[in-house]
């Protein structure tokens, strides 16, 4: 996996050497904290703390879409894919490297965002209220959830990226997937807040995502095809 890591590292450095991309990711990671700060004058509200916490977990996860969209389509557009495919590197290493390059920073950013959000909320509203609104199990659940969302987004968008001609087309497909998640999580938050099945939902949703991830990863593995990539490059 040494070569997969070389591919991943190159892509991560490349992505974050683009200031625009870096600032966009940091903005989405910091947005929930910003919203907390804007709302600090209002009455402490457990619901608001939870809603912003979900955003802190999921907004940075969406940054995986940009990296995954560029994984193959971006290389095709820049005509850099052929030299990579001409190197003695296994297909699995290429896919794994590109997957890690999209998934690792997005997951890390999401986890850092959750931690920063939690600390900020405790400072602003006091540990007692935040402990009620965001117990440790829920924070842990959100971290797992963000990881699973990153996996799903990355695998779906990477498959699209390998089969479309432009990065923009792959990003648009990623946008549809994010929209689906937004609707699902809107419903989820409503469900958590309005139902006494909160604990069941908190277990069922990650489990559902896990199943989705297994399917998406298997699809990514099956649908990524060197021949197809070379023919379209």
């Amino acid at each position: 996996m040494r070569k997969a890591w070389a591919v991943a590292w190159r892509e991560m450095v490349d992505t974050f050497s683009d200031r625009g991309s870096l600032l966009r990711s940091l903005f989405f990671a910091g947005l929930p904290v910003l919203l907390l700060l804007v709302n600090r004058g209002g009455r402490p509200n457990a619901t608001l703390i939870l809603v912003f916490a979900v955003q802190a977990a999921l907004l940075p996860a969406a940054s995986a879409v940009n990296a995954a969209a560029g994984s193959f389509a971006g290389e095709k557009e820049a005509q850099t894919l052929i030299p990579l495919l001409a190197a003695p590197i296994r297909d699995l290493d290429i896919v794994a490297g590109k997957f890690a390059a999209a998934a690792v920073p997005a997951t890390a950013l999401s986890w850092v965002a959750i931690a920063v959000y939690d600390v900020t909320a405790r400072v602003l509203y006091g540990p007692a209220l935040v402990a009620t609104a965001l117990p440790a199990t829920l924070l842990f659940g959100l971290a797992i959830l963000s990881f699973l969302v990153v996996l799903t987004l990355t695998s779906v968008v990477m498959v699209a990226s390998a089969r479309v001609a432009t990065q923009r087309a792959a990003q648009q497909i990623g946008g549809f997937v994010i929209a689906g998640f937004a609707i699902a999580f809107g419903g989820l938050i409503g469900g958590i807040l309005g139902s006494d099945m909160r604990d069941t939902l908190l277990i069922a949703v990650p489990l559902g995502l896990l199943v989705l991830d297994v399917v998406a990863l298997e699809l990514a593995r099956r649908l990524w095809d060197r021949e197809e990539a070379v023919a379209r490059a």
């Binding site: 190159r10 190197a87 590197i89 021949e227």
Partner: protein, 308 residues
């Protein structure tokens, strides 16, 4: 032979990109794969480079089958595509380090320094590739291809969009690489380039190899051409020749005299007819001489013949 292509075919859906191609390239030899756009040159080089799998047939590259060991074949080939295809946010040093890791290069720093010096990029090694000129980018792509010291070089239109001076530098470099006993396959539609540096030419059209041989031999295979220089009325000369059944292919002016050119398979008969017609028409013939056929003329004739 370093490259031994045997009855290679490649199909993309219903399109047959390459059909039963066979060719060989020895060590220290430059073979030009010539053909119009879409002829199958790039497909052939990508199969030989282990990037694409053949639909049928095989290519043995440095003793390895592309069908059975494509990964090991890739480790023995250096590919320079028509577009340099560089990660432009990286510096050349980081870029070459990345590929050195993929190609398992021992002592990469030393090799990178050596190649940068060789290609005149030593002073810009730590500059971002986006700041490079087109020619420098192409040199960077060549450095990438040579990083692992491969016995086989696959050059796919390497001089595309380069200025004449840079093209000449690139040609000199390719010739110097031949001296290092590398087998070089040069895909091009630049006949001048092929004529200048290739030892042999393989002409491919619509996925089929239609002719193969040294450039001098290919030039001889075209119909012989002759030109006559006339002192006097060029239009009258044209009418006289046409009256003798000779089709004029080109005309021009040389040292103030009209020149007319034709091709023939029967030089003795046609040229005698031409001279008689011109002299009978009261025209003064300054000279009648055989024309040196260019590779371009031979190439066009071969392509036309293959499509007939």
């Amino acid at each position: 032979m370093v490259i031994d292509v045997r009855d290679l075919s490649r199909r993309f859906g219903s399109h047959l990109a390459l059909s039963g191609a066979s060719l060989r390239v020895g060590p220290g030899e430059i073979v030009a794969l010539l053909g119009p756009n879409g002829a199958g040159k790039t497909t052939a080089s990508r199969i030989i480079g282990g990037i694409l799998a053949p639909t049928s047939g095989d290519a043995i590259v440095a003793g390895l089958s592309v069908r059975e060991q494509p990964g090991r074949v890739r480790a023995r080939c250096g590919l320079v595509p028509d577009s340099p295809g560089l990660y432009e946010r990286m510096t050349l040093r980081r870029y070459l380090r990345f590929f050195a890791a993929l190609y398992d290069v021992r002592s990469p720093e030393e090799r990178i320094r050596h190649l940068a010096e060789l290609l005149g990029l030593g002073e810009v090694l730590d500059r971002r590739l986006s700041a490079y000129s087109r020619g420098m980018k192409q040199k960077a792509a060549i450095a990438r291809a040579l990083l692992h010291d491969p016995p086989v070089l696959l050059l796919d239109e390497p001089a595309t969009a380069l200025d004449p001076q840079m093209t000449q530098t690139l040609r000199d470099l390719i010739v110097s690489l031949r001296a290092q006993h590398r087998a070089i396959l040069l895909c091009t539609h630049d006949l001048d380039e092929a004529q200048r540096i290739a030892d042999r030419v393989v002409i491919v059209d619509r996925g089929r190899i239609v002719r193969e041989g040294p450039t001098a031999q290919l030039r001889r295979t075209a119909r012989p051409a002759f030109s006559v220089v006339i002192a006097g009325d060029g239009e009258a000369a044209r009418r006289a020749l046409q009256g003798a059944g000779i089709a004029i292919e080109a005309s021009g002016v040389e040292d103030g005299h009209q020149t007319l050119r034709w091709t023939t398979d029967d030089a003795a008969r046609t040229n005698s007819l031409a001279l008689r017609a011109l002299l009978d028409g009261g025209l003064q013939v300054v000279s009648l001489r055989p024309e040196e056929r260019t590779l371009e003329e031979a190439y066009l004739a071969i392509i036309a013949e293959s499509r007939a």
